[in-house]
Symmetry: C2
Subunit: 300 residues, 2 copies
Amino acid sequence: MKCRKCGGAAVLELRRHNVAFCAPDFLEFFRKQVSEAVRRHRMFTRDEAVLLAVSGGKDSLALWDVLIEAGYKTTGLYLDLGIYDYSKESHAKCEAFAADRGAALLTVSVEQEVGAPIPEVRAVTRRPTCSACGLSKRYLMNKAALDHGFPVVATGHNLDDEAATLFGSVLHWQTEPLARQSPALPSTHPKLVRRVKPLYRLSELETAAYAFLRGIDYIVEECPFARGATSLMHKEILNRLEEASPGAKHNFLYGFLEKARPAFERVAEVELHECARCGQVTTGTVCAFCKLADQVKRAR
Amino acid sequence: MKCRKCGGAAVLELRRHNVAFCAPDFLEFFRKQVSEAVRRHRMFTRDEAVLLAVSGGKDSLALWDVLIEAGYKTTGLYLDLGIYDYSKESHAKCEAFAADRGAALLTVSVEQEVGAPIPEVRAVTRRPTCSACGLSKRYLMNKAALDHGFPVVATGHNLDDEAATLFGSVLHWQTEPLARQSPALPSTHPKLVRRVKPLYRLSELETAAYAFLRGIDYIVEECPFARGATSLMHKEILNRLEEASPGAKHNFLYGFLEKARPAFERVAEVELHECARCGQVTTGTVCAFCKLADQVKRAR
């Protein structure tokens, strides 16, 4: 296999693009996909302070690496979920990464904010584990950005993540999540910062290869609570489709963004208010995060 | 397991409905689902002549059985695809079924109409096998209905078929097929008859159980060309989702029809003309069927 660009020995084949690359040209390809995402969806400029949610995994650290290299003003945000050793190790990876590069890292503790660490939240709420955790993370990312004056939060969601989320929403035709599924969500309220996903054009395999080739030390384990999660089954199904027809995930996600999403945007228009309790944005009177925190408090 | 209705011994559990039935109550349930489909989508009345496409398989013969029992005016339409023994056997099943019940059966030969039987059409066209065959069948069903004065064609597509078709369209976000995916397509042109699918509320397992319990003699083999078809992979995937979460197919299809289809209908509006060659309906100048027949003629 030869590198499509330089003709040298390739280290990686990207079947969905029908190309192979040597290590330097793959890294170049990867960076270009990130800048293409940022440019196409006007995610942020070099003058803006970007808050980047980092988990210690390959995706968010690969993204941080690319953004730092490209000269963007980034600050890491680590949300400490309090999930035993998993959280300790992933925090350590983020701290080491930031220290190596002289980058700033904010840490927010879920235990302090919600009233209990995720394992306890999980026991208290009837929601599926990943649902209560995802809700808390989205809330705390936005809060941290508002508290520290960041206009935008970036996350490390990749093509596989986005395709799996879309797949789950489509199986139930959840029109609100479908309308919100986008690489770049604008701020639709003064208390809601922009949310962007600069890795949406890159697969999980590609971010893993990037992290490996760049020598990034990341946590390999998945969250222990993710086992059996529906999103993992959806990822397996999409991998099977991708295997049978390279580009399947890509076509599924991009096709949605181009051809179907506009139809759902028209359907779902919601009104946003400030939560009577915390002042953050909600569609109801009290936001889902405050309700969750109440539930945790009552159970303690 | 007890029958939900009579409390007797159940023979069949329907996990997605969370019920079990004895044989007579299952047959009753099955018939009710068909009448519910007919009623809800105003498919046809007892005064209308219905042309029912029959393949000799469990679905179309089960449907014919239900419609005859319910007193509808049906005529069977067998499309002879010329696929070796498979076609001979399936034709024989249809003829025996019709003779047993004193029902009328029309037979149309693909070889006569297209110029060659499907195995030869398959060799000539670059389309995937099922695509050329599907195109020919849709064309010939409509033509037979027009030629013999039927206002409506019914087919035996079941829930699994419909969910798999939807799945395929969604993976590529094919907006035109999405807009056309419906249990009942109205006539949008004087030369286009209505098309209806009275089994869309019943799964493949349910039609198989109905055919078995009613002692219907149907052809069990699948079409020999279907092997490896993408639609079969999609059915497998949907079966896996159904296994993990009973009702998944049902929710996927019904959710689409209720919540998403209206959005696509608005997007896709096409203008219909009469084909310059055969006079049937097309979006272009010469219809796809005439083009296919030309291709077959040139190759001979």
